[in-house]
């Protein structure tokens, strides 16, 4: 860092010495430090040293920087620049590691994980604790404890024995003995001389432990070669039967390297195949078109009310399956489309009592946009979404199935991984599709897992795989390579010969050494301003638009009752045809089949046969085939031949004149009468009303039964459904039985006991019977309770229930744990559990009463 007159004594001092640019770099890379904004640098330093924040920062380091931190954690504290470099580059000085080292050091320093001048490098204490090896948390370095740590607690006599066996002079105290021993182990030439004498088997044992884990098992009677090692302290006992290889010895055997393999240089992403850029862009555009068609189809499928929302949220497995069948895609892909529509705000729950999914008003607006813009909306929504469709069908930590559109699908790192993967793709030559494994290796280098043995399929790797497949589905990539429109959407400059300026990412404001870096900085997606985002989207739209097929205004009709639209159709045409015929196959073109059912559907939708003929003639490039014309005419001839409606009552009369009279009468209007045949009227009013009404109009109608007989009306008795006779109501409550009485008395006595029991004198507390609750401090309450559990005695407590009502109880505690006391409650005569924080106080009962 900057030259200092006095060395900083703490992280806070080191921070204080930094300039503003350097501090803002820190805060940019660790934004959690300014939420909320710290009051001063001391607070900032404290916060930067908290475990959560340090873990977060460590997880965001690239592999080499992390390895540097790991090496520092096993180095002497404070370490010098050269010591640390030695641990990474080894005794023979790996040139790549030496070259990358200053940058890794600067990164750690910038992120406030490391402080101090180059001669006094210190890792922040929390980071050291996290990274230093311990028996419970072995370090990725595979190093064991130092001689000093391993011999702590060893008897001085034993230490002197070891020192002597190792060929050193005895010392006065253990501290100097340990120091001379570790000096010997750290001295390459003396150490080599010592090991030259070692028996061959002993060397073999050492070579087994050298790269870790450094612990080994020995029997009570070790073999001679092990005894040789143990005697000289080359293996130190940690526990009975266990020995450890001290760190200094391991480092000697490793030629000074803290890691078996250091990876100072990011692995390059390899190109698998290179397609012509034109092929990539058109393939991507084709897929972009499919995206639009699929999302529209999905929402058309859900047009009249989508699937219901599960009580726990999300789409049921069955509905997802059904959707997958409807879209003719595998279920994971269907889940992706559904989630995409959701992320873009095109579909949502309708919030009704029986919730269902439905298109949002935004969908209608979206439909009006030009195709390329529709795609850009979807793709931008996908880029920024934290929801990950790839998780659908998996299980969460509680073993519940994760459903599409349901909760638990958010992964906050998803946008960052997507952006990173696509940026890496952008780094490949134009038209090149990546080798997935090299891409994953690179991502893993940039954010290594801190686990000693990282799972091969951690979340980042899965997110990256999903990104590749989803980008392909969406048409951000084509045949695996980033398309021009995808690149534009990301806000990345065109690959070659372009004059576009570097987007203003964090790179511009970083300290100068960042600029020299061969690898682009691994940071969160560049925070585009809305204006920049809009410009990027517009560029993508402009690139995509000419590649999308133009909508057609015609179809080809064929005699086998099919129609082929050899490309996308204009929307009104597609809508009408979608009703008139069934879709048989989709893709670049659409094949429709006319069936009697589909033609009837169209007639039901209010089209007439002549409409349909005109429609087909207008939109067909070829004459309408005769069988199709016949099909439409046949259906039209029969359509509506039978008419069905609902009526509540009818009036029939052989005399048409009487019906005319009724219809003409104004008073009949209220019955909703309509003539459906010369001698039949139907009414919306029910038969009784109609009968009464016609009678008042002066007619003498008779009611008819369902079989057509005249109903004879006569008075008949009216009956209720079966009913019980009333119970007698005596004065006062019923006489209690013996059980009830017994219980009541017990309760009363117990209550009495609680309020009157004399207890040990305690002036601070209330007194039973005087109505006040006992009051003791919570510590005292706990102690008394625990004592009562031991003795099995009953105690008197004051207790406030959930409603805030105070009461006094006498209880015999059985168990006190987790802030609850379980006790036999004399007052209630049962075992109950009370939260301790609701107990106001406790008092022992006087001896004679308990």
């Amino acid at each position: 860092m900057s030259p200092e007159t006095t060395a900083p004594r703490s992280l806070a001092e080191a921070l204080r010495a930094r300039d503003d640019a350097s501090l803002s770099a820190l805060l940019r890379s660790r934004p959690d430090l300014i939420t909320p904004v710290p009051t001063d640098l001391t607070q900032l330093a404290t916060r930067a040293g908290t475990r959560a924040s340090v873990v977060r920062a460590l997880e965001r380091l690239d592999r080499f920087t992390l390895q540097t931190a790991e090496a520092l954690a096993v180095a002497r504290e404070p370490a010098t620049y050269d010591e640390l470099l030695g641990l990474l580059a080894g005794d023979d000085g790996d040139p790549a590691a030496t070259a990358a080292f200053p940058h890794a050091l600067a990164t750690l320093r910038e992120q406030a994980l490391l402080w101090g001048a180059d001669d006094r490098l210190r890792l922040v204490r929390t980071a050291r604790e996290l990274l230093a090896p311990s028996p419970q948390h072995p370090s990725p370095t595979g190093l064991g404890p130092t001689v000093g740590e391993a011999t702590a607690g060893m008897s001085p006599g034993r230490i002197q024995e070891i020192v002597t066996a190792a060929g050193l002079a005895t010392t006065h105290d253990s501290v100097s003995a340990v120091a001379s021993l570790s000096a010997l182990f750290s001295d390459r030439s003396r150490m080599s001389a010592l090991l030259d004498e070692a028996p061959a088997e002993a060397v073999e044992v050492l070579s087994r432990l050298v790269w870790g884990p450094p612990y080994g098992q020995v029997t009570a009677e070790p073999a001679p070669h092990l005894r040789w090692l143990i005697a000289r302290g080359l293996l130190l006992p940690t526990a009975p039967g266990t020995v450890v290889l001290p760190r200094e010895v391991a480092l000697h055997l490793r030629a000074g390297r803290a890691h078996r393999v250091t990876q100072p240089v990011a692995p390059a992403v390899e190109a698998a195949t290179v397609h012509g850029p034109g092929a990539v862009d058109t393939a991507a555009a084709g897929q972009a078109y499919t995206t639009l068609a699929t999302v529209e189809e999905l929402l058309k499928d859900w047009h009249e009310g989508g699937p219901p929302v599960l009580r726990a949220g999300g789409l049921s497995v069955r509905d997802l399956k059904r959707t997958a069948v409807a879209l003719d895609v595998p279920e994971p892909v269907a889940a992706f489309w559904v989630e995409l529509a959701y992320a873009a705000g095109l579909v949502a729950s309708d919030g009704e009592a029986d919730e269902r999914y439905a298109a949002t008003p935004a969908y209608d607006t979206w439909l009006e946009l030009p195709a390329a813009e529709r795609w850009a909306r979807l793709a931008s929504a996908w880029l920024a979404a934290t929801r990950t469709a790839g998780l659908v069908g998996g299980r969460d930590a509680k073993d519940r199935t994760l459903s599409a559109l349901g909760p638990g699908l958010d992964r906050s790192s998803a946008p960052e991984v997507r952006h990173r993967v696509l940026t890496l793709l952008a780094g490949l030559p134009e038209g090149a599709s990546p080798d997935a494994d090299s891409l994953l290796a690179r991502l893993h280098w940039e954010r290594p897992s801190r686990a000693v043995r990282p799972a091969p399929d951690d979340l980042r790797a899965r997110l990256a795989r999903w990104t590749l497949s989803e980008a392909e589905l969406l048409g951000v990539t084509g045949r695996g390579a980033l398309s021009a429109q995808g690149r534009a959407l990301l806000g990345l400059p065109a690959p070659a010969g372009a004059t576009a300026t570097e987007p203003s990412g964090p790179g511009d404001k970083l300290p100068a050494h960042h600029k020299r870096r061969a690898v682009p900085p691994v940071t969160a997606p560049p925070p585009h301003s809305p204006a920049e985002q809009a410009a990027a989207t517009a560029r993508a739209v402009a690139l995509l638009a000419p590649l999308l097929p133009e909508p057609l205004d015609h179809v080809l009709l064929q005699a086998d009752l099919t129609a082929v639209a050899p490309g996308p159709l204009e929307r009104p045409l597609a809508d009408t045809l979608g009703v008139l015929a069934d879709v048989e196959s989709k893709g670049g073109a659409t094949v429709y089949r006319f069936t009697p059912a589909s033609v009837r559907r169209s007639l039901d939708a209010g089209r007439s046969a002549s409409d349909l003929h005109a429609f087909l003639a207008a939109h067909s490039r070829t004459p309408v085939p005769q069988p199709l014309a016949y099909l439409i005419d046949d259906m039209a001839r029969r359509h509506g031949h039978l008419r069905i409606g609902a009526a509540s009552a009818y009036v029939r009369c052989d005399d048409e004149a009487v019906l005319n009279e009724i219809l003409a009468d104004k008073r009949s209007q209220e019955f909703g009468l309509r003539r459906i045949a010369p001698t039949v009227l139907v009414a919306q009013a029910d038969p009784t009303t109609l009968l009464a009404g016609l009678r008042t109009m002066g007619f003498a109608p008779a009611a008819e039964s369902a079989e057509g007989d005249v109903l004879i009306s006569r008075a008949h008795a009216h009956r209720t459904p079966p009913r019980q006779a009333p119970e007698p109501v005596p004065d006062g409550p019923p006489v209690p039985d013996a059980t009830l009485l017994g219980a009541a008395i017990r309760a009363i006595r117990a209550g009495d006991l609680a309020s009157t029991a004399p207890r040990k004198e305690d002036p601070a507390a209330g007194r039973p019977g005087d109505g006040t609750l006992p009051r003791t401090s919570s510590a005292e309450t706990l102690a008394t309770m625990q004592a009562a559990v031991m003795t099995g005695e009953a105690v008197w407590i004051g207790y406030v229930n959930a409603e805030g009502a105070a009461s006094q109880r006498v209880i015999a505690p059985i168990r006190v744990e987790g802030g609850f006391v379980t006790a036999y409650d004399h007052t209630a005569d049962e075992v109950r559990t009370y939260p301790l924080h609701r107990v106001t106080g406790v008092a022992e009962l006087a001896e004679d009463q308990s």
């Binding site: 393939a283 392909e472 097929p549 086998d560 099919t562 490309g567 989709k586 893709g587 094949v591 005769q626």
Partner: protein, 548 residues
């Protein structure tokens, strides 16, 4: 990007036939895509695993297929589809059946995990013998067909390079005096012989018998010919005597009435599948001679027991002949694994365009039921409904009118129900051929029809297959076996033989309007409409009015 081909997401390919590049495209995709529909403007091809493996068997590789799609496609071809095609094609040939000098029939692999995978299958385990080396496993020679069938079901079709036995040699020559094999027939024979075994798909009337004769002339070995029925068997015999160096005595008939086994034996499916006490007594015919070639006529009708037996005949050359690979029972994959891949295919319209089959005018005549018939139809039991509407009296009037209209031409009236046919025969004053008509009587009537002595013949479904009526120019179908698509194709085939005078053929289907007869007719016609035969629709009244 303005090719004639559109690739659909369901793996169908749409080919715009009026496009300039349509012919080039058709040639490029025909090896791997099955023509599914060929109506007037857009032909539909389907890419299926079987089709892709057929292409592999014919020596095409995935790159050619992908190139063809990418070159001719109008829109970008989905990458996933290309990957899928490459992967599917790659599955063929990973496993090979071949002859091992020491161990006999062996299954070898170029990809060890595949062999491990199939060997773990419970269905494969009983079919294989000892593991010879990590890549080879012995197969019992009798399981050659069974293992191919099972491997295909597992999705790893095996390439059969184990070769064929020559069989008992027998001199057979084509006698091409006064005629010659047509170019496509020659091509079909060549493709078959080169491929070893397989299926040749040709339209009815395109001379499949001659392809068979050509194959026999190549094999020059004893031949077993399997046909659908006795009439067809006689037909084959007749044709073979006429077109080849074979004499009557060299050809035997193995049917219900005669049981001759000669160097060339023609057997019916029916006799082979006759079952007595749970066994098929006549299946030993397959072993009765050292056959060099087995011919299956009308492969799409091959009954299941014959499949079973064919599985044991994998060392003999097999040729399947058919007009369509569509099987109503969906056993296309068994045809592929047991008889062989498709070796030759020519669309009907193409052969028609070359003038080898007659152009046909297909008409559906719709008759209205009378009011009383409609009432009776409505009240008929479900299983009786079709019979009722198919045999309505109005059909008789229309048929008579049509016969009058084409008076002087050779007319076939085809139907399903004997009562209806008898009644028609009576009214038309024409002989009726049905199941109970003796074979002698049938042949006599057919001869008379051929000679022009009688001009109208009423036939039941016994005449569906393989009888050659060269001069029939008009067929009138009054009823059928419900919605059978291949029956419709066979019946149309009756009039498609090229006519001496280049007459247009007419195919009339008389259908009762607004009944299930019409639904069945629509289903039956689908195959032909898809083959490019557009049906016209006429009202019965027009027909009746025209002829008055």
């Amino acid at each position: 990007m303005n090719g004639p081909l559109i690739v659909q997401s369901d793996k169908t390919l749409l080919l715009e036939v009026d496009h300039d590049l349509a012919d080039a495209c058709r040639r490029a995709i025909a090896p791997f895509a099955e023509l599914e529909r060929a109506p007037e403007h857009i032909h539909t091809y389907r890419v299926t695993p079987l089709g892709l493996w057929n292409a592999r068997a014919a020596g095409h590789d995935a790159e050619q297929v992908v190139d063809a799609l990418v070159e001719f496609s109008r829109y970008p071809v989905p990458h996933a589809l290309l990957v899928d095609i490459a992967e599917t094609m790659d599955r063929y040939g990973r496993l090979t059946l071949s002859k091992h000098p020491a161990h006999g029939l062996v299954l070898t692999t170029t990809d060890r995990p595949v062999l491990e995978e199939v060997l773990r299958s419970k269905r494969i385990a009983p079919l294989v013998g000892a593991r010879i080396d990590p890549d080879t496993v012995a197969v019992h020679p009798s399981e050659r067909g069974q293992i191919k069938q099972t491997l295909l079901k597992l999705g790893w079709p095996a390439e059969d390079l184990a070769g064929y036995v020559d069989g008992e040699a027998h001199a057979i020559e084509l006698d091409e005096t006064g005629w010659a094999l047509r170019p496509y027939q020659r091509q079909a024979v060549e493709n078959f012989w080169h491929g070893g075994s397989g299926v040749v798909v040709l339209p009815c009337g395109a001379g499949k018998t001659l392809v068979g004769a050509g194959a026999m002339a190549e094999a020059k070995a004893t031949t077993l010919i399997l046909v659908t029925n006795t009439v067809s068997a006689r037909q084959w015999k007749h044709e073979l005597v006429k077109r080849t160096s074979l004499t009557e005595d060299e050809i035997g008939e193995y049917s219900g009435t005669r049981k001759e086994i000669r160097p060339v034996t023609i057997a019916t499916y029916q006799v082979l599948t006759t079952r007595r006490k749970g066994v098929y007594p006549h299946l030993e015919l397959f072993d009765s001679r050292d056959w060099g070639l087995i011919l299956y006529d009308e492969v799409h009708l091959l009954p299941a027991p014959v499949f079973k037996f064919t599985a044991d005949l994998q060392a003999r050359r097999r040729l399947g002949l058919t007009a369509t690979l569509v099987r109503e029972d969906g056993r296309e994959s068994d045809v592929f694994s047991l008889i062989g891949p498709k070796r030759f295919d020519a669309p009907w319209k193409e052969i028609e365009a070359q003038g080898y089959i007659a152009p046909a005018d297909c008409v559906e005549v719709r008759v209205n039921l009378t009011d009383s018939e409609r009432l009776a139809y409505a009240t008929a039991e479900n299983e009786e409904k079709y019979r009722f509407c198919a045999t309505t009296a109005t059909k008789r009037k229309v048929t008579e009118a049509l016969v009058r209209r084409f008076a002087g031409q050779q007319i076939l009236v085809i139907g399903q129900y004997i009562d209806q046919l008898d009644e028609l025969g009576e009214h038309l004053n024409a002989p009726v051929i049905k199941g109970e008509t003796s074979n002698a009587q049938r042949e006599k009537l057919f001869d008379a029809f051929r000679e022009g002595e009688i001009s109208v013949l009423v036939v039941s479904k016994v005449a569906n297959f393989s009888i050659d009526l060269p001069e029939a120019t008009v067929a009138i179908q009054v009823s059928g076996t419900f919605g059978s698509r291949q029956e419709e194709a066979q019946r149309l085939g009756r009039v498609l033989r090229p006519k001496a005078d280049g007459h247009q053929a007419h195919f009339y289907s008389v259908v009762a309007r607004d009944t299930i007869d019409q639904d069945f007719a629509a289903h039956r016609q689908r195959f032909l409409a898809e083959q490019g035969y557009a049906y016209r629709i006429m009202d019965a009244d027009e027909v009746l009015a025209d002829t008055e």
